[in-house]
């Protein structure tokens, strides 16, 4: 009897609540930033601003830790339980869009006309996701190191060539001042490998997959350019310039405590380095023959295919695309704001700001990772190939088998619709 009464009461309460919110529709949203207080507070701020700004929609957010986020979305999709709004890592978006988890955004193209190219998640000619920020990588070093080693300071217009870069490493090693010349961040397994290292391959003239067809990696990942890249990559470890296995603590603090002469690291780590030294330089990637390249695309917002109110979800995303929020994210967690006007509003990326160089790098060199649903698999295959080569595997064999695996996966998936 008691439980029956309880049930009746709760039904009454639920009814009362839903009638109170009569005119408003609730939109659910998933976000990958659980555990990061600053990030969560900015997202919450945007949500409460949005909820207050109109009376049609109420957005409710659920946060996930980044490491479990992608799995949660896949599990949610398999269970038919996706939210209206979700955020997605740029290179993963085509996979989700192709799988039918996401639908194109309904936002005004003019609004994002001046956004950095890496922030726009376009697949199959349609905009599926948009980022409020981008991330960029640079070769971090100190002016005093360059002076000591007698090296030219490279510029965006005139970056180091491959030879100059290797010469710099050789000099840094010969100086004996450092444990290792170069900190590549091999401690960061996973997406870091394709994100940070495939631009080297592209600068050599290869790629993870042939972008003209997106159906094969033959020739681009195991051709002459790729083998040259592989030999260079293996040489970095064989010649003792970098570590194939790195202590994660060294990745976090090694450069800042003088263990490395150069560090290949992202803008998110830049503020810590600026605290450690007062003559930090953020140099463009070396040019191995086909231009300096760095990876583009970070986390972006999109609308799930399961959403019954895509117009509301898009309205929220459009609302979030305000320079003040872009600037807030940038100030809060050091990301590169997606527009120049927002960059001008930030402490670090405004004209002459300490990280402004990243905005320029992103604008000039950024190349998105292959835009294909197969990227998720290709990225893992690429990571394994690089790790194997670093550990001494035969370069041609390692690249051949990576090509075979990528091609087999593409074939298994009916060419991913290409």
């Amino acid at each position: 009897m008691k439980s029956l009464r309880l049930l009746a009461t709760s039904i009454a309460i639920t009814t009362a609540m839903s009638s109170a919110a009569f005119a408003q529709t609730t939109l659910t949203m998933w976000y990958h930033g659980a555990g990061n207080e600053v990030e969560s507070s900015i997202v919450n701020q945007i949500i409460s601003d949005f909820n207050a700004s109109q009376s049609d929609w109420v957005v409710e957010m659920q946060s996930f830790p980044q490491a479990a986020y992608n799995d949660s979305v896949v599990a949610g999709a398999l269970a038919g339980n996706l939210p209206d709004i979700l955020d997605v890592d740029g290179p993963v978006m085509p996979n989700w869009a192709w799988s039918g988890y996401m639908q194109p955004l309904q936002i005004d193209e003019a609004k994002i006309a001046n956004y950095l190219p890496g922030t726009k998640g376009v697949w199959n000619g349609e905009l599926y996701s948009i980022g409020l920020w981008d991330a960029a990588i640079s070769l971090v070093t100190r002016q005093s190191y360059l002076d000591e080693l007698g090296l030219r300071t490279p510029t965006l217009a005139e970056p180091w060539t491959g030879e100059e870069f290797m010469d710099a490493l050789a000099k840094a090693k010969a100086s004996g001042n450092f444990d290792y010349a170069l900190d590549l961040g091999t401690a960061w397994t996973g997406e870091w490998y394709p994100y940070a290292f495939s631009p080297f391959l592209q600068s050599f003239g290869g790629d993870i997959i042939d972008r003209s067809t997106y159906t094969s990696a033959e020739g681009v990942l195991n051709g002459d350019a790729a083998v040259a890249f592989g030999n260079w990559w293996q040489g970095l470890f064989e010649d003792g310039y970098a570590q194939a296995t790195q202590d994660p603590a060294d990745r976090d603090n090694g450069f800042n405590s003088g263990k490395y002469a150069f560090s290949w690291n992202g803008n998110w780590a830049a503020l810590g380095t600026l605290d450690a030294y007062d003559d930090v330089l953020f140099l463009p990637a070396p040019d191995f023959g086909n231009g300096s390249k760095i990876g583009a695309a970070s986390w972006q917002f999109g609308v799930s295919a399961a959403s019954e109110h895509p117009e509301g979800a898009s309205a929220f995303i459009e609302f979030a695309l305000q320079d003040k929020y872009l600037a807030e994210f940038s100030n809060g967690i050091g990301l590169i704001p997606a527009t120049a006007s927002a960059a001008a509003m930030t402490e670090n990326y405004k004209e002459g700001g300490p990280l402004a160089v990243f905005f320029d790098l992103s604008e000039a060199q950024a190349l998105v990772r292959p835009v294909t649903p197969g990227y998720v698999v290709a990225a893992k295959v690429f990571e394994k190939a690089l790790a194997d080569i670093a550990n001494g595997a035969d370069v041609q064999d390692a690249l051949d088998s990576a090509v075979d695996e990528i091609d087999a996966d593409v074939a298994k998936n009916d060419n991913y619709g290409f």
Partner: protein
């Protein structure tokens, strides 16, 4: 033919019911699914319809081939030798990639090779990573099962004494079992660290710096050994407790009789303790074997299968493919192969350790 098992046994069924239903739902049913999926091209997520592909997943995983190559010769027909006398062979990729004369080898890679006379025989596998995973897993089982079981027995004999404070030792030996394997693996990553790890510091302190620093997990020749050592240490306490329970079922009067007969310590162990532990030994051996075949968490946390596939294991590959590479059919196939494997070995163990009448 109603047996005692099915007749007037409703209470028993009722009590076993919840566990049986849960096991059926979460173990038996998924496994049946896995068998079905292993004959399809099912993806984790995909808009494409699932298709029946027959045994191609199995042939993809288990396909092996042989290729014997003659050394390269110069125009006179003499074997070309490098300065150090090494013979060179034509590149394998000329045979395994798009060579119409060798269609059966297409896409295969070298697993291992050996020389017979001047020619060199290559054993090729269609999926070298899986082949290595199988070998690594077998090595792991072959080392862990006897060493862990033996060590656990020694510990159990040591703490099976009525001494003051013996419970402290029992607790200490059992402690690693209680800690999550993920946490243990993370801690051992620091211990094995190539630069400033505890193990390297310890060895160099003991040898006054003579022992070179080794990157235990980053070196293909030490990585699997490092994981074996750590795994043995982690779970030895669990099996110690099982041995201990076995030891305590042996009647004290047998030991008294042995003492009166004037048996030595070894004789007491050999003729009283060991026969009394027979069933416990079978249990411990089978449990360790099964646990060892399921090696996953340590690999996932410590090495991700590297370096150079030296720590790939069957279960790690199943998860990596099924979930990481979204290839559920491939992961399922590996699971089925593992099941057949473990079943065969368990049956063999049962047969080898059967009561001989």
């Amino acid at each position: 033919m109603a047996s005692k098992f099915t007749r007037s046994n409703s209470t028993g069924w009722l009590m076993a019911g919840p566990a049986a239903v849960l096991m059926g739902l979460f173990i038996v049913l998924p496994f049946l699914f896995a068998i079905g999926l292993s004959f399809t091209n099912q993806r984790l997520i995909s808009p494409n319809p699932t298709q029946f592909v027959g045994l191609s997943n199995y042939s993809q995983l288990l396909g092996v081939g042989l290729l014997t190559l003659e050394p390269e010769r110069n125009e006179a027909g003499d074997v070309v030798r490098a300065e150090d006398g090494a013979v060179s062979y034509p590149a394998l990729r000329g045979y395994t990639r798009n060579n119409p004369d060798y269609p059966q080898l297409d896409g295969m890679r070298e697993w291992f090779s050996f020389s017979l006379g001047e020619s060199r025989t290559y054993v090729l596998a269609r999926d070298v990573v899986f082949a290595k995973a199988v070998v690594n897993t077998i090595i792991f089982v072959l080392v862990v099962a006897p060493v862990q079981g033996g060590l656990a027995l020694v510990l159990a004999l040591l703490i099976n004494q009525k001494l003051r404070g013996i419970n402290v030792f029992r607790a200490i030996y059992f402690m690693p079992v209680v800690v999550s394997i993920v946490v243990v693996s993370l801690l051992w990553r620091f211990i094995y660290d190539g630069q400033s790890g505890l193990l390297n510091n310890l060895l160099s302190a003991l040898t006054f710096g003579a022992f070179p620093r080794i990157d235990w997990l980053g070196n293909p020749s030490t990585a699997l050994g490092a994981i074996i050592a750590m795994s043995i240490w982690q779970a030895v306490g669990f099996h110690m407790v099982i041995w201990l329970s076995g030891l305590q079922t042996i009647s004290p009067s047998l030991y008294e009789a042995a003492a009166i007969e004037g048996a030595s310590k070894w004789q007491t162990f050999r003729y009283v303790t060991w026969p009394g532990l027979r069933n416990t030994a079978v249990l411990v051996l089978i449990v360790i074997t099964m646990q060892a075949f399921a090696l996953f968490a340590q690999i996932d946390v410590m090495t991700s299968g590297g370096p150079l596939d030296s720590t790939q294991t069957i279960v790690f590959q199943a998860v990596e493919r099924g979930y990481g590479k979204q290839d559920i059919s491939g992961g399922s196939t590996i699971s089925v192969i593992l099941f057949v494997f473990v079943l065969a070995i368990s049956l063999l163990q049962r047969w080898l350790t059967r009561e001989k009448k």
